[in-house]
């Protein structure tokens, strides 16, 4: 897949009539946030195509959200939307997997492919429960504070601490084991 430097891309203006709220400026939001959102989505999904889909759907949702993103802060609102969309997709994926298991009569343990860059890390992240993965990604990839992470995930600060702590412990275990095996 070709990569284009976000700074060099010229974003065409959106026709105003296509926006739910003329005050919103989707192009500006896209320019500000899409790379960071893509990287966050990449850590959550482990796959480039899924990450791009998530980011795309996030911006479509933003365009429909009226004044709410501006009121709550675009960075927070966009990340909450992305995390929620990821959750919905996970649920769909589990449903599909269960259906395949029933039809085929065997356990479907096939894992989605991981990215080539640091596959051990992506594999370890993939084994974390959804909330732990999101908490760890927001806290460590994005340097979000506990309070910011709590607002994005819609949980309490204590819950963020718990998810982060457990997520880190699992990552340490998995990555430690992988390192040992590797050496």
């Amino acid at each position: 897949m070709s990569s284009v430097n976000a700074d060099t891309v010229v974003f065409p203006p959106i026709k105003e009539r296509s926006l739910a709220n003329p005050r919103t400026d989707l192009a500006t939001w896209f320019q500000q946030e899409h790379v960071a959102l893509y990287r966050l989505a990449l850590l959550l999904t482990g796959q480039r195509a899924q990450a791009e889909d998530l980011v795309q759907d996030t911006f479509v949702r933003l365009s429909l959200a009226g004044a709410r993103p501006e009121r709550e802060g675009i960075a927070t609102y966009a990340r909450r939307t992305l995390v929620n969309l990821h959750r919905s997709r996970l649920r769909r994926w589990y449903r599909e997997r269960r259906a395949v298991e029933r039809l085929s009569g065997r356990d479907q343990t096939t894992s989605p492919p991981v990215e080539p860059a640091d596959p051990a890390l992506f594999d370890a992240l993939r084994h974390l429960p959804r909330m732990q993965r999101a908490a760890v990604a927001l806290r460590f990839l994005e340097d979000r504070s506990i309070e910011e992470t709590a607002t994005i995930l819609g949980v309490s600060s204590g819950a963020v601490k718990t998810h982060t702590h457990r997520g880190l412990a699992s990552l340490r275990d998995r990555l430690g084991t992988d390192t040992d095996q590797g050496t």
Binding site: S3, F30, S63, R98, L121, F122, F140, V155, L175
Partner: protein
């Protein structure tokens, strides 16, 4: 941050630092998706507008046909009459006497829901709007009550107060009124610490605020924690109890066993963790139910069942500490496009003291689940 946390952070950042999306293509896709979404919304609006216009246009003819008078005299023009004539029959709306109460085992709230208001939940965020008004984030003028975890109220203009005996503050910000109340966390919620929840009422304009203020007041004055600081459950008196994903039949009284069962069923609908509400024996029994059960061939055709809603029908004391609760769990078959056909599974849940899967000794956990009647097919409108 410890040394290994810093290393992990560096590794995480390194893993994605070189990853950039194809921005131009992504933007093109966003544009396509946005235009498509807005077209779809506009098409719906147009259809509704046309329908309303068609009715409006047809109404005078229909009324004329019903009340046609061949006497040859012109009818007096009453269109500017400010009050109906005394002989005119005025349609009296039938008052909706059914009062529902909403029970939320996660936010730990219960309140009376005004008739014909709709509740939606998304990731811990509850939204309640009157029937017929758009549910945010849908576009359009609306009146809405919202609730979520945390303190989201504006920092300016706070007034310290108490609410149901717990510390709170209120904020009035234009046509939005906030209450942030610091009351006990739900003992069933493993991801909720004690901390405030925010509740706010909002209208797009003065007219909507005036129209729905009584509904706001109904909810505000009836708002109370479901569990108090001692874990006791509030008295929820209602013709019907609404939950996040189901209903409870009239006459079923709220208690801690029922609250645990509601929580268990809500978690099933969302596929959330069962750790605080299910014992090891309960888990084994649950795994024998659809869609996990081994009786696939004996079951009805669906192959992609997913729980969608439930209705609790009764609660009976089994002994001094335990209860048997009967419910119908409804499943959607995702393998078909037919969302009007649901599959009902009648279940009995056995609730009593025990150790939950998160190794906590609790007064109530689900210790067993069994089907007591064959599945049924339910067709909904």
């Amino acid at each position: 941050m410890t040394m290994d946390e810093r290393e992990l952070q560096k590794r995480m950042k390194d893993a994605v630092s070189g990853a950039n999306p194809d921005s131009a293509k992504l933007w093109e896709n966003v544009m396509d998706g946005t235009n498509q979404a807005h077209k779809s919304r506009n098409a719906k609006r147009t259809a509704i507008t046309l329908t309303v216009l068609a009715f409006a246009a047809a109404a005078p003819f229909a009324i004329g046909l019903l009340g046609s008078d061949d006497s040859g005299f012109a009818e007096p023009d009453n269109s500017n009459s400010p009050t109906p004539s005394p002989t005119e029959t005025t349609a009296t709306p039938t008052p909706n006497l059914i009062t529902s109460s909403y029970v939320d085992t996660q936010l730990n709230v219960t309140f009376v829901v005004p008739p014909d208001w709709r509740i939606s939940e998304f990731e811990g965020h509850r939204t309640i709007v009157p029937e017929g008004l758009p549910m945010p984030p849908q576009d359009g003028d609306t009146a809405v009550m919202q609730m979520t975890f945390g303190d989201l109220a504006p920092k300016q203009g706070r007034v310290e107060t108490s609410f149901s005996g717990y510390p709170a503050h209120t904020v009035k910000d234009g046509l939005t009124e906030w209450i942030v109340v610091d009351w006990p966390a739900s003992p069933l919620c493993t991801v909720c610490d004690a901390g405030p929840i925010s509740i706010w009422w909002e209208a797009s304009n003065e007219a909507l605020w005036d129209e729905y203020q009584s509904g706001f007041d109904t909810m505000r004055t009836s708002l109370t924690p479901l569990f108090d600081a001692d874990g006791e459950v509030a008295d929820v008196a209602a013709a019907e109890i609404l939950t996040r994903r189901g209903t409870v039949a009239a006459g079923v009284e709220m208690n801690s066993a029922l609250a645990t069962t509601i929580d268990f069923l809500d978690r099933r609908m969302w596929m959330d963790t069962f750790r605080p509400v299910l014992s090891a024996e309960g888990k084994a029994a649950y795994k024998s139910l659809p869609p996990f059960g081994p009786h696939e061939e004996a079951r009805l055709a669906p192959v992609q069942l997913s729980p969608s809603s439930y209705r609790i029908g009764s609660i009976e004391a089994a002994d001094a500490n335990s209860f048997e609760i009967q419910a119908e769990v409804r499943y959607v078959d995702y393998s078909t496009e037919d969302s009007n056909t649901l599959y009902g599974s009648n279940e009995t849940m056995f609730v009593g003291p025990g150790t939950s899967l998160d190794s906590v000794s609790r007064n109530f956990v689900i210790r067993g689940v069994a089907e007591y009647a064959p599945e049924s097919v339910i067709t909904v409108d």
